[in-house]
Symmetry: C2
Subunit: 213 residues, 2 copies
DNA sequence: TAGATTGTTAATCGATTAACAATC
DNA sequence: TAGATTGTTAATCGATTAACAATC
């Protein structure tokens, strides 16, 4: 599994493979060929084989791929065999939605803490987890070995909070604030810009209405 | 503005241009060159000029681009000069987060209705909007000319609800359910698969920890 | 063994970057 | 006019697809 220089295009497809393989596994499917998977996922068999071969051969000539094995290996590549400690900053609806989403815990993403700058929320519970004031951020991160910070706060404070997280050793940020964070290159940032997504939908919808599809 | 065959790679960058130009405009910046914008956004000036030229020339040799004009034109391309009527199906935390996000309304996305299959929620208000039972879905869509459906429901019911929406004439679906919807090709679908996003972050974080960056 | 299907190389396609003539 | 910067063509780069030899 000597991964080097895998393109983000490939990485971006891995979670989808993982999802389909998980479903096949749940259905009791034991083996699958790149051609069958191609048909199921609407991507070319060639791409499937190329993608998997970036990480070494998982299949067998004449047989195909073992579903359970491939599922597990992709999980490992994605780092899902390890646990990650995360905190959510901003316990509005979006923060609460994420906190309540059980599946993340199942994948090894452990919600260690919740933070909010609204004093009225301090001490309240979300899914049994206490909401803490921002003043406790640094000490909490250090004490709980937090490696992922989730930002569900307005863009005005995002840059500032991100800086505080990184200063305490947080190595990855899942950013829902509508701003491009300026952080050292070794910090991994994954942006979820919801309004960008809606605008893309709007473009495609508008274009289709104009009959340009 | 004769758009034809614009790649999704280009479309995907438009919202980000739009955001940066909006901020520049708010700061009172009147003109900007592709080189200055390049420096600001960390993309090549060449790409910026190529991207804009897909839609016709918005700039002027020797001058650059007028910020306010370019901002408005990109807004038009994205369809933000028109209003869209949308409904949100699923009023859990995620649905409520979206319903409360005022910016969508500012961009012309009008939240016409909220739906949930939980009878206990029927009649409750979210940001002044009444939550309706799923039985009213079809009549409401027809009566309010809904063109975008937002799915913030579990994946088990997503396919079924999407089908009902499309059957009533909904032309675009913003899908937060963790499933690939099988719909006619003329229906625009934009997926927000949050766990896919988190897995990508996990991959990059894991790879970095292994010292493979 | 024969058939099937991978792993991998080669060919194609598309997207990005570079270069520069056009022109404000 | 001279300088600046776009619009656009050409060159490069990377990603996808096709083809096929290797092999189970």
């Amino acid at each position: 599994m000597e991964e080097k220089g895998i393109s983000q295009a490939v990485i971006g497809r891995l979670p989808r493979y993982f999802r389909f393989l998980g479903e096949l596994k749940d259905q009791g499917v034991e083996r699958i060929s790149s051609q069958e998977l191609s048909y199921l996922m609407h991507v070319t068999a060639s791409q499937i084989r190329q993608d998997f071969n970036n990480f070494g051969g998982f299949g067998q000539q004449g047989y195909g791929y073992n579903v359970a094995y491939l599922y597990e290996e992709i999980g490992k590549i994605l780092g899902l065999d390890q646990t990650h400690n995360l905190i959510i900053i901003g316990t509005g609806h979006l923060g609460q939605a994420l906190a309540n989403y059980m599946n993340f815990e199942r994948r090894g993403f452990l919600i260690k803490g919740l933070f909010d700058n609204d004093p009225k929320l301090t001490g309240t519970l979300v899914r049994g987890i206490e909401v803490r004031p921002m003043s406790e951020l640094e000490s909490f991160i250090t004490a709980h070995n937090v490696d992922i910070g989730v930002l569900t706060i307005p863009k005005t404070s995002a840059e500032d909070v991100a800086g505080r997280l990184v200063a305490c050793g947080v190595k990855a940020i899942w950013n829902f604030a509508h701003v491009d964070l300026q952080l050292p290159p070794e910090v991994q940032v994954e942006n979820v810009h919801l309004s960008d997504s809606l605008m893309k939908l709007s473009y495609n919808l508008t274009r289709q209405e104009k009959g340009q599809v």
